[in-house]
Symmetry: C2
């Protein structure tokens, strides 16, 4: 069986620090599958990062030859910490009786839930780098092992599949955020939500030709990959998949996904084939990435309803997470298309939000008739001559099915409104009519 040379970081800042470190090295030496090769000198360092006031650390490193896999070695390190009196999981940056970190494991890059190797903070920390140099790790080796800064950009299906497979097999809860790029704070909130819930986050950036109609703005759709990558980096996205159309749709592509009659109403009526294109590209992304969770904005509520059915129908084992619409200070829902509004249309556009809130307010005041509620919002929009209603409907919450004429117990009002001062810009928004005012963004 192959032995691997690994490097462990050793540290302590309470109790008999040197004794704790020496004992750990001795115990490593008698562990089946581990031979200790060399131990570095020990040095005093301050705590790096925030934390309560505490004593200086004693730090060092050792090299070992091991037949254990990295995950087993990690378990042994944790057992040593436990035996030294440390309680796990330890609060971050609190005093520690013993710290044993797996720094390097041969030349391997490891990216699992439990373990990232090389150790993610290795390259920023002198108190780790110095002992490694002392143990004979060359600058060249360190530079070869230095990981690419996140987000890693990949453009081929094969690479993206491989990364996602590594995550899944490494036990990582994986989140996917499909986008068409031209990212704004609305997307930022999706990344943030994914980052909070998942071990690894992948964003995709693909302006999907299949979801644009022949007369639509595919070529003119805004694109800004450098800016998108900066937002992804800031949001802690691990990998960005930005394929070309040819990479997504091979010649002879024929496996399009139908969406049924509901996909032909509202957005689907105005944009024939739109949801077929959305479902097809999202099914492909789900098949490739196999995420545990996928994040979409509530601003595109009908898209979410269509995709919920796709997930249920085809049995994708994932949770679809719907994130609240993010708005500008004046209430306008954030959208990549807002940049196309000329100054006067931009000033007029918050009328959509006011119209939806007026319906909400009317509901709160006791109005229950479906068409009367729609009429309240229509009247507000009619007061803005720059706005033309494409559709305005009150539908059931969640699945967005049509509601019968007459009184309603609630629902979601969906609007598509055109502004044509400069070029024609079509904006979407929607709102629950039963939401409280404090929470009217959702």
């Amino acid at each position: 069986m192959r032995e691997v040379v690994a490097f462990l970081g050793l540290g302590a800042n309470i109790g008999d620090r040197e004794r704790a470190i020496r004992t750990a090295v001795e115990r490593l030496g008698v562990t089946p599958g581990i031979r200790v090769l060399r131990v570095s000198s020990l040095r005093e360092t301050e705590l790096v990062g925030d934390g309560p006031p505490q004593g200086m650390f004693l730090n060092g490193a050792c090299s070992i030859a091991t037949s254990l896999p990295a995950s087993a070695l990690l378990s042994v390190c944790k057992a040593l910490e436990l035996a030294a009196g440390r309680t796990l999981p330890a609060p971050r940056n609190h005093p520690r009786a013993l710290d044993v970190d797996l720094l390097l494991f041969g030349e391997e890059h490891i990216d699992t839930k439990e373990l990232t190797v090389p150790h993610p903070r290795l390259f920023e920390r002198a108190f780790v780098l110095e002992p490694l140099r002392e143990l004979g790790v060359s600058e060249q080796a360190l530079s070869d092992l230095r990981p690419m800064p996140a987000p890693r950009l990949v453009t081929t299906t094969r690479e993206f599949q491989a990364i996602c497979s590594t995550w899944i097999e490494g036990g990582c809860l994986t989140g996917l955020v499909p986008t068409m790029g031209a990212l704004h704070a609305g997307h930022g909130s999706l990344f943030e939500c994914a980052r909070k819930e998942c071990d690894r986050v992948a964003a995709t950036i693909f302006v999907n030709p299949k979801q644009f109609g022949p007369k639509e703005d595919l070529a003119a759709y805004p694109r800004d990959l450098p800016g998108d990558l900066r937002l992804c980096a800031k949001s802690g996205v691990d990998v960005v998949f930005a394929p070309s159309p040819a990479e997504m749709y091979a010649p002879g592509f024929a496996s399009n996904i139908d969406v049924g009659a509901e996909g032909e109403t509202m957005e689907g009526a105005t944009r024939p084939g739109h949801f077929r294109g959305v479902s097809t590209v999202v099914a492909r992304l789900f098949a490739i990435a196999r995420p545990h969770r996928a994040y979409f904005g509530q601003k595109d509520a009908q898209q979410v309803a269509v995709l919920r059915r796709l997930v249920r129908d085809l049995g994708f084992p994932l949770r679809l997470v719907e994130c609240p619409t993010v708005r500008e200070a004046d209430g306008l829902a954030m959208s990549s298309r807002n940049v196309y509004l000329d100054a006067k249309d931009r000033a007029a556009a918050p009328v959509i939000h006011r119209a939806l809130r007026a319906a909400q307010q009317a509901f709160a005041g006791g109005l229950r008739d479906r068409d009367a509620l729609v009429q309240v919002a229509t009247a507000v929009l009619a007061g803005e001559p720059r706005a033309t209603i494409d559709y305005l409907e009150l539908r059931s919450e969640g699945d967005l099915l049509p509601l019968p004429i007459g009184p309603v117990a609630g629902g979601r009002m969906l609007a598509a409104v055109r502004f044509s001062g400069g070029r024609t810009v079509r904006l979407l928004d929607n709102m629950s009519v039963v939401a409280s005012f404090e929470n009217s963004g959702s």
Copy 2:
């Protein structure tokens, strides 16, 4: 951190057997994260199973309390075997300087590539069960831990998803064999192929209503779940997923998968919507199970071509494996529908195979014209009055696209032939025209 009580089997049959076992127990006792609780008495046993002539085993077991996860404990056991002079991987049933097996790990069932707990052969082996009883494992505990015999039958998407996820996250190469049940030796060869290549094999049994036309034999399609389960058991299938139609298609199901124009030729022309139904159900099974490989019979060659495109178009990260057609002694391709042939039709049906071989033979003899090759097979079928040709086409190998009129460099001939002596039975077969005669089944 939680400690788990685990039981290890210890054995040796060369060298100083007792010393090897005692040394292993001592080394376990100093391993970080392990406390040895009790060691059983040691007993002499014969080798179980085939193997070269060799000495008696000394066998026992020990109980430990451990904070290590099971996979790390397994690595420690392997390291102990290595240290005792054993070379890994060891040939099966050869003499061993030391055997350390993880028998039980708390009450956990573990099913990963590296590890199956409880140990798969535990319940058949007195020399393992006796030491466990001596260490205080009750009959009740053993009975509770006894795994269900394979294949495990599941009927819900959720259960099937969960099992497949465990396999994937446990590093198992997973094979899927989708079937409509009524299994025969043809399916058996798919299972066998999957068993040879994969760590875990799942079969699905679902008579898919979506791939039957309104006038087709859905209700009459043969069903035999007990017989199917017996074949799966014999073939080493780990799990059988046999859902109801309602479990597969929820009310409001709308996400059907188109297959393009090629899916409307040959089988698709005779059976409108057939490949749409096939693609939809298979996409759902791929989404649920996320297999690394999926196995289909070459008898349904057009189905394989359609599914290859589905896999490519939607990006499912799997390899589609096409297995050779299995034939009766007289050349008839095995099919679940063969049982419907009356005696005279059954006697006549091998004419399809003879017709395809005649075309192959003509090609070997130098005939290259597309239509002339089809004519050779047509003439053979015309000689059998019980047979009516539904279609007979020579298409390109692999993607099965139409070939132009004139000379061909090769191709695959596909036939659908009806027999109507009793009820009408439609049989499919196909063959490469360039295959050698020795290998004409493929």
